[in-house]
Symmetry: D2
């Protein structure tokens, strides 16, 4: 890295999972727009061809209209080549394949357990965690070996457990987890400000929020816009839209939020008086299973959707086709603002701007009433080679029971994955709010799911 007066050159970014046809393109867009930084992006993926394709796509961007910054993309065959001397590491991988995800999401349905996403908590999230943690430990150890001072940004789910695994394997790692779900709620409030309160061109980042909770079950304990407390307004807004919901997608970029009418969000607000700040699909998975996910019919009533893995297959097919078009030149890469913050975080860590935003980090006291060491989501201050959480304060009394429960459950899974202990993992599984089965049935389901993904769990013991 070389600091010039106002910019930084020769930055090395390592992208683990660099064959991605989603986040990778988002990053390319954002980097192309960041005129005060430049350098190289090393793409590493177990599917080398995919990485190679992205190398081609990435290196074409410098010729695209609107490109303000030149980056060199290089696909590499080993993780060491990608990491050696990297300044930043981005992790965005799929733990195993859609085949395993199919089991994660759909096997529980045989037992009456419906999951809207199935990659964070619930039976699917936990089994996915069992697969993901050994991979993340391997990455963390490689970071320790090749670039111990690099900043590591994770986008992979289950976020909480993946970030914990990085810290478990290499405690000095400078890692954090990055998720856009809170932004979606800010955009909902932007809609409220513009449509109900007459403001114009509200900038999402001017809606100042205090964030507490765990990833995908984050809550706002305060929200201000230009000196105005948004809670009383949100109360009216939630009341007004409670029955029908309101369609406000968090679009404009590659997202996984899909259609959502925020009815779950409003219901939680009416119960507890705080603003749940993630997509309804995610929020529902952290609540007792009979609240929002009892049956497909109930899900429909709440106006969110169950993301089937079939949908994911189809979506991937489209993205593969797009990839081919980008490579062949049939389609031109479109540089656009994506609403994502990864590049802004990088700029802030380089000392090029000030930034306070929400990230996932081990709790060192930023949320005093959650366990120390558990990965939590709060605001953090990014500055020159430094990132420190802001004191977010206690989880409010009203929602502490909900959050401590799921935070604690993920702590069990984290320990179970670290020690490769299926018995312990089952303690979390049977405790999950979505799993309302008798012991023997829960065990049966657990075993069935383990069986289907056993190829990835060879190190685990009962």
């Amino acid at each position: 890295m070389n600091y010039k007066r106002k910019n930084v050159e020769n930055i090395k970014i390592a992208y683990i999972g660099g064959g991605s046809r989603g986040w990778a393109w988002t990053l390319m867009s954002e980097l192309a727009l960041a005129e005060d930084i430049s350098g190289e992006v090393y793409l590493y993926d177990i599917d080398f061809e995919a990485a190679k394709n992205n190398e081609i796509i990435g290196n074409r961007i410098r010729n695209v209209n609107g490109c303000k910054s030149v980056w060199e993309y290089k696909a590499v065959k080993t993780i060491g080549e990608a990491l050696i001397n990297a300044d930043f590491v981005i992790i965005s991988i799929l733990p195993a394949t859609f085949k395993e995800m199919e089991s994660d999401v759909h096997t529980p349905e045989e037992y009456g357990i419906y999951q809207a996403v199935g990659d964070t908590v619930g039976p699917g999230g936990y089994i996915r965690a069992l697969r993901a943690v050994p991979m993340f430990e391997e990455i963390a150890l490689a970071v320790k070996e090749y670039c111990p001072n690099a900043w590591v940004i994770n986008y992979t789910n289950p976020m909480t457990i993946c970030v914990k695994a990085l810290y478990n394997a290499f405690p000095e790692i400078k890692a954090f987890g990055c998720c856009h779900e809170v932004f979606g709620t800010q955009i909902l409030m932007k809609k409220m400000l513009e449509e109900d309160l007459g403001y114009q061109n509200v900038d999402r980042s001017d809606i100042k929020v205090n964030v507490v909770g765990v990833n995908h079950f984050t809550w706002l304990t305060s929200a201000y816009y230009k000196g105005m407390d948004l809670f009383p307004e949100y109360k009216k807004f939630a009341d007004k839209n409670y029955n029908e919901g309101i369609n406000c997608d968090f679009g404009g970029h590659l997202n996984d939020c899909f259609t959502c009418f925020h009815r779950v969000k409003f219901d939680l607000f009416k119960r507890y008086g705080y603003i749940a700040a993630a997509g309804d699909r995610h929020l529902a998975e952290f609540c007792p299973g009979d609240w929002y996910l009892k049956s497909p019919e109930q899900v429909e009533e709440w106006k969110f959707g169950l993301t089937s893995v079939e949908w994911r297959w189809n979506d991937l097919k489209e993205r593969l086709a797009k990839s081919e078009r980008l490579i062949s030149g049939e389609e031109e890469f479109v540089i656009k603002e994506t609403g994502e913050e990864g590049v802004e975080q990088i700029r802030a860590l380089l000392g090029l701007r000030n930034l306070t935003t929400n990230v996932n980090l081990p709790n060192v006291g930023q949320i005093p009433n959650l366990p120390l060491g558990a990965v939590v989501e709060t605001n953090a201050v990014f500055s020159d080679d430094s990132m420190r959480p802001v004191m977010a304060g206690d989880i409010p009394k009203e929602i502490y029971p909900l959050i401590s429960r799921v935070c604690g459950n993920q702590e069990i899974i984290a320990e179970a994955t670290k020690t490769r202990n299926l018995q312990l993992a089952f303690s979390a599984f049977v405790n999950d709010p979505l799993v309302r089965l008798p012991l023997n049935k829960a065990k049966e389901l657990f075993n069935k799911m383990i069986e289907k993904t056993s190829e990835y769990l060879k190190e685990y013991k009962c």
Copy 2:
């Protein structure tokens, strides 16, 4: 109080709820057997006649065979007379009447919510708390006025919230809550030692346990008997008796544990590997409602019982009859060891013995991963005018989600009762593991229950 070489005379005990036909008689028995202490017991009750009856009964005991210690019983008409200069205060009251309790226990059944006891958590426990807290605040303020240095022992449910109310109203109060449920589990292990392992005459107090949790949802994280770790033995014991359960009542005294086959206890052990240490009826109420309390049929399967208020009416009738017989002399008071520890705690606080036993106290760090200030149950060391909790350690990972949830929920109720805030109380109500209703149904039930007990809730606001 006067200290003699080996005993203490002229102790003054104030008994709030002194008309009781249960705990009062237990206390009388225990006091009669405590040869190194003597003094007066002031009985105060809103039903003065009941207290007067106990005065007669109590004063007869000195002539009963086996009485080793003379105590003077006096019924008084004001709480001030009872408390003034008291050395010890015992609280054992019924918050309102069986009429209100009937609503607590049975109204939720109309919504498919079954409670085995209904006096601790769940809809019944919370509504009972709303009534109890103002009473406990009044008692705490009277203690502050009349006997600020007295030791205050509470037996009333909901234990956790009542003890919290005492400390909220008078933070310097020397109060603790006392409950025998853990003893019942020690007695179960005594049975195991004697029947399965060939030991003879096992003394319950030789089974050394470490206690964590909240009242009625207490757990043992270790158990030893004569150098032997009891956990491996308990595992075999739980496996063997899992299907049929084992009948082991905690008898020998006036108890409310009733028939219990410990199947819930064994199920929880198999789920988490720790020993739940309370009667199954209580344990079940802290778990998600579909585990053990989904329906009367499910309860029957688990082999515990739902205590109807009708049963309580009948039981009271019998105790009233017994009271009359004791007063008339038709029946003689039987002095016996009850297995309760109140008097031993008093003796330890007087410096007459060493005692380490489990009590309910605000968390000052004895359980580091539960919120500070929340009332928790752990061992404490009793000595000369001193009682200090033992560092019980963190709630184990496996059961932290279960316990933090119900601990947090009781913290909401504590705050709601303190601030007389029904809106906040509803946040806890709708969060309770037994309440699996949609928001509008939950609200309907809450309002109905509030309505039925409104006479006692005049200070509360929505």
Copy 3:
């Protein structure tokens, strides 16, 4: 307050101690330069004439060249008029007069105790605290009555104890303490960067630091400039300048830092490896008395100065003369950047900019190994109606003994002032690192100092 698209009008600021001839003028300068905010400043002072003079001076500024923002200044006779509906409150008062300060600073010299400032800790600081706290309690209660939602900025010493008193009297107060001493150390590093390392026009605010400690005994645990870790450079810099020191005043504004050669700072760095970040005069007062303040000769060796109260009298005389010239128009008010941050904090609290800077606040965990509730200095994030401390982390092992000692001692004084308890205050007095007297001598000095300021201590009891 009215929010416009890009600015805020009709802000009301209350200035307690508004007759000040130092900070008041600094504020006027800064406000005149803040083009996106405007409103009124109410000046309240027990010396009404002084406030009136500042009203005249302040209202002239709008005609001065370079004034970008119009503010109305009004002297008022009651604190209520100043505070009612204020948006911001600034406190900058002198607790009593220079006569009392003379005793604070010079009476201990009779016992061989030398103080460089005498307003923070040491005998002088503690006795000053005894006078200041009742005044701060009064202010806090007035804020509670007249403007409970206002942001309150304190500049008065002893900072730590004054901020604590505000929170003790009105726990919901939105107050913080603001001090420029850390900036001085950043300016020293700017000098290092420019003179030793060849950088040009280093901007102080680009030197990113993590701050821990208590006011006037603040330490940096990290410092970065454009991706460069400044600690290795500072080590060379401290070694090079250890013997002679380096003259680097923190000038350009009304300051009380005076000549300082940073030898104490370098000595502390060589002892512990962390950068002490306050003027040497302040740092020395927190260390054992024989390190830097044993005698005037030793002070001279370390190349800092003892600020006599005589000097203060003379300085005041000059400032009074200047005040007269400003009023009469003989001298024109000069608007200039002062290096102070108060107005930037105000702008950030209005949502007009992002700001992370160091302030004094009760510890809610931002420094986990100092007592909760003790006032500590760390960075905080200012945003729209919100200010939250950044997790600064533990005080490093090496300096924990020094800092915990003086932090704890100020906690005693805080409690002693709150309860008006001279006996307790003496416990801190006799514990102070500068007070190395036998018990009877310490008591004699304490009593003598109390006597000399007794007019202000009427509520205190032995």
Copy 4:
């Protein structure tokens, strides 16, 4: 180990430092009196002859009048033989020889630093710690290998750092540090009760105290005897005896408390209102050096003594002579109650009695306002294979600055020894209350002391 109905046989005790001519004989006496336990004591010492001598002495005891319990003593040549399958491990070693101790105690005198003991804190304590820690790490690792479930009792100084080293090297170790200094203060209060208040035959263990602090700088925050608060009495007692002191040795056993008139103890009580509970010689070493240890004359005034190493040589000579007499049979071993508690702790850990007493353990929250993990001294509850600290509560405000300072300083040394880092050790050295030297002088002394003991510090780096 075999449990019988009322006793335990075949216990194996390993004694590291088993050639001791002090503690070893105390243990032999106490074991001979413990009629419900029996077994073997393995004596391991780097001086095998010394261990062999103790084997002979120990095995003779069974024939001595008054012996109630038969123990087999065996000297062994390797630590492994001693530890393999041990139930209890006792550590009482001298880290290096009196030659090194001579430097510890007397080299600082050349710089005007006087130490009364020189084995705990101060220059001597710290340098001793540098030698001791590698030895303790070795012992801990041997325990891990040979008897990981054994209870480990340490008597060696510096207690705090030695116990910390055991836990650092083997975190699961069941170790605690045992010290009789608190008993001495109970005996002083016994004297007060008997001589001033007319009680007879006061039993030390009936004086119930709450203990906080670090070893040799322990404080009582409460003390009761038969329902009487002893603090008001102690106040009178301290006032009355402040000037002359009172001679009350803690005799009757092998002690190192020597003559002590408790003047330091009374001075500290008058300063802070809490009872310092260790010998004055120890207490003085934790206070700023000019309070009690400025010069030999000042020490004399305070009526305690400086223990020269010459005295220790002479004392050892006498004990060696006694050893020879015991071996030859010229002198018969006298079995007597020693006032020490080690054997009672063993019995309690075997489940044979209840015991609550003060020990040294890592802080898990028993003193909330000292750092977690620092070794602190508080009461703990001993029961069947379990020892848990009692919640001792916060260090009182008045003495927090004194204690946090020395606790923190020992934490530095612990880290410095663990990482073999002399630079870090010097940070603690120069911070010590007794070391009031300028940086260069402190460094000179440090280097000189390191040099003199360099043979034992080969692993350390600057």
